[in-house]
């Protein structure tokens, strides 16, 4: 379990690094793309999340060892959910 958590952390660190790069530099090869990461390595860069998930399933069947990021998306700004609960 600890190994899986470490792997997830490595994937997420890489994903965040790519996200920062793509948002700061519109000429980055990642800008506007989706990236798939498995076991700490970028394994696919594609225009759609569907293509990324398809490729990730081929490379690493355990989704816990994978990560998908929308490179130019803003994951930091607080998103408001108006009350429905």
């Amino acid at each position: 379990m600890a190994g899986a958590n470490l792997q997830s952390s490595v994937n997420l660190d890489l994903a965040r690094s790519i996200n920062r790069e793509a948002r700061q530099d519109p000429t980055s090869p990642y800008a506007g793309k989706f990236v798939g990461i498995a076991n700490g390595c970028v394994v696919v860069v594609a225009d759609t999340s569907r293509e990324v998930l398809r490729r990730l399933k081929e490379v690493e069947p355990d989704p816990k060892k994978c990560c998908c990021i929308e490179c130019s998306a803003d994951y930091e700004t607080v998103q408001e959910i108006w009350g429905v609960l």
Binding site: R50, V52, L53, Q79, G83, V84
Partner: protein, 135 residues
């Protein structure tokens, strides 16, 4: 263009989506349609129960910070979502939460709804989605 409509549930608009479990079986979820959930530019389309995200083999993304009805940092997963009657079949981002609105399987957020024409389509007791015209 295909159109699909659902009767209001508990007086609220609802849309029905199909998720796919890791064993290939379908998992149907009725989501409250909420244009006040997120914005056009949000990184997520849906809010789902975290168990559903995991049971459907959701691929982790980053976390996202929410305010309002949900407060804090929540994980985001990419999951395969279908509405077969509308020909919708895409991998989209869902925020995973531990508590969804009572009587619903989650929330269809504004970013998801605007993938379609949406509204009551002249029947105030129903909620409709209509596939967009192809560009």
């Amino acid at each position: 263009m295909a159109m699909l409509q659902w009767p209001l549930r508990n007086g609220r608009p609802v849309v029905q989506v199909v998720l796919t479990l890791t064993d290939g079986q379908s998992l149907v979820r009725d989501l409250v349609a909420d244009t006040g959930a997120g914005t056009r530019d949000s990184v997520f389309d849906l809010i789902l129960d975290e168990d559903d995200c995991l049971h459907c083999g959701g691929v982790p993304a980053d976390t996202v910070r929410l305010g309002g009805a949900y407060v804090g940092s929540f994980p985001v997963y990419f999951v395969d979502v279908r509405i077969p009657e509308l020909g919708f079949d895409q991998s989209i981002a869902a925020v995973a939460v531990s508590q969804v609105p009572l009587g619903f399987g989650g929330i269809a957020c504004f970013k998801f709804l605007r993938r379609f024409n949406y509204g009551d389509m002249n029947d105030p007791d129903r909620f409709c989605l209509e596939s967009l015209a192809c560009p």
